[in-house]
Symmetry: C2
Subunit: 238 residues, 2 copies
DNA sequence: CGTGGAGTTGACAAAGATCAATACTAGTGG
DNA sequence: CCACTAGTATTGATCTTTGTCAACTCCACG
């Protein structure tokens, strides 16, 4: 887990890199590619090196030249969920830059890697030049991608009842008093959303009900104890 | 599941719609918003109506004005996985339009809904005006989002061994002869990728090995019978 | 009144997690 | 060159969670 970066090797040109077919910038004109070449820097990192971490500010986009990088989130209990394995030609950190948000996952080199680095400064003017409508759509895309990834992590790390609880809290909204609302989904659809069997969902609802965290009347849900419900959505136990 | 569309109600203006805070276009200028108003059409659909289906061509973007729409994929065995519940202000179908690809999920109205519709034609020039680099990045974003969603569906509908099998085939690449490659991941990382315990992964590997579908030598994997391995990645059974 | 669909409950089986013990491997320092 | 050690991989036993199947209830609606 050393934090060394060497710069002995010379950077590959985006032009030739793109000729090899794979990679993010393949369709671009030679002009655009030489532009990238001018703006970018190049470096190598040893296996185990962290390229960026969740919560940190994105300062630019990495483009992997050789090696493999794993992108992952750490869920409750320290369990990792690998979101993506990036290989040569793949981009890292573009989501945070395009969405103008903090990184929401970690990136670690699984092998020694060579990466090009494109500072956000060179991307910002290009984004600024785009129509506000497009920028707004891009931001939406990024948010949605982050949300699905969150669900992927939940799905294999949280029990069905905990996922249900979190979903109920989401539906109940931000307020902190008790809340009453109508489920917009049937039990079957609830199951389809949570990734479980309908029976499992029903039993989980019954369990929450018996614990007096919610009150059930058909599709109507009343949150009786928001505090305990919230803690139930965080703790795998009980 | 009727396929009626009425147009009695009058469309809400994007300007006032955006004033309510939520929604995709909130940060936009009044100019841009009145531009949207000119381009868009408006309609209402009854509960149960399909707005678009996976595999169909995207002709524009929907913006939900009232009601709830479920976006879902249908996995093996006809089991639905709800990807997202869209409410007022949410966008539908933007991924396909921005990524210039077919819809990869279905959209169905869960309640009666009112939606505005922005034809792709009005978006295309805006995208075309953006830098090719940005367009390329957007395409990447869309592809990645689609992939994570696929993994979400897999996660709750396919057994661990099947997920592993599919992943091995992915790593083995496109060729159709036998293939030999080195796993770039440890058993633990394999587990972190697939969303399983390392022991489960090891046992699944051992099982595939016993069935003579692969040969294992530490991190090296040899695909012995690609055909049967492929069918094992599709069939939940056995 | 039926009739059908959604919801609920119980019994059981299957998949997978967890725990514990053991093997294997590569690097380290004598 | 040989133990020694730490990390990784493997295996078996057991427990938990969840899925599956079947019966049964509860309405809403014709």
């Amino acid at each position: 887990m050393k934090t060394v970066q060497t710069r002995t090797k010379t950077a590959p040109s985006c032009v030739s890199c793109s000729k090899q077919g794979r990679g993010a910038f393949c369709g671009l004109s030679t002009d655009a590619l030489t532009g990238l070449d001018r703006a970018k820097s190049f470096g190598t990192y040893p296996r185990g090196q962290i390229l960026f971490q969740a919560g940190s500010r994105a300062t630019g986009v990495h483009c992997l030249s050789s090696g493999i990088v794993k992108l992952y989130r750490v869920g409750a209990g320290g369990k990792e969920q690998i979101l993506r394995l990036a290989g040569p030609g793949d981009l890292l950190g573009h989501r945070a830059v395009l969405g103008e948000r903090l990184h929401d996952h970690d990136a670690e080199a699984m092998t020694d890697v060579e990466v090009c680095y494109l500072p956000a400064d060179t991307l910002a003017p290009l984004m600024a030049a785009a129509s506000p409508l497009v920028r707004s759509l891009v931001r939406k895309l990024v948010e949605e991608a982050a949300e699905v990834e969150g669900r992927l992590v939940e799905r294999s790390q949280l029990r069905a009842e905990v996922r249900l609880t979190a979903f109920l809290l989401h539906l109940a909204g931000k307020g902190d008093g008790p809340a009453r609302f109508e489920l917009p989904l049937s039990r079957q659809e609830l199951a389809d959303y949570l990734g479980a069997a309908p029976e499992t969902v029903i039993r989980a609802l019954a369990h929450l009900s018996k614990k007096r965290l919610i009150k059930l009347e058909g599709r109507f849900v009343e949150v009786l104890d928001r505090v305990r419900l919230t803690s139930a959505a965080e703790q795998p136990a009980d």
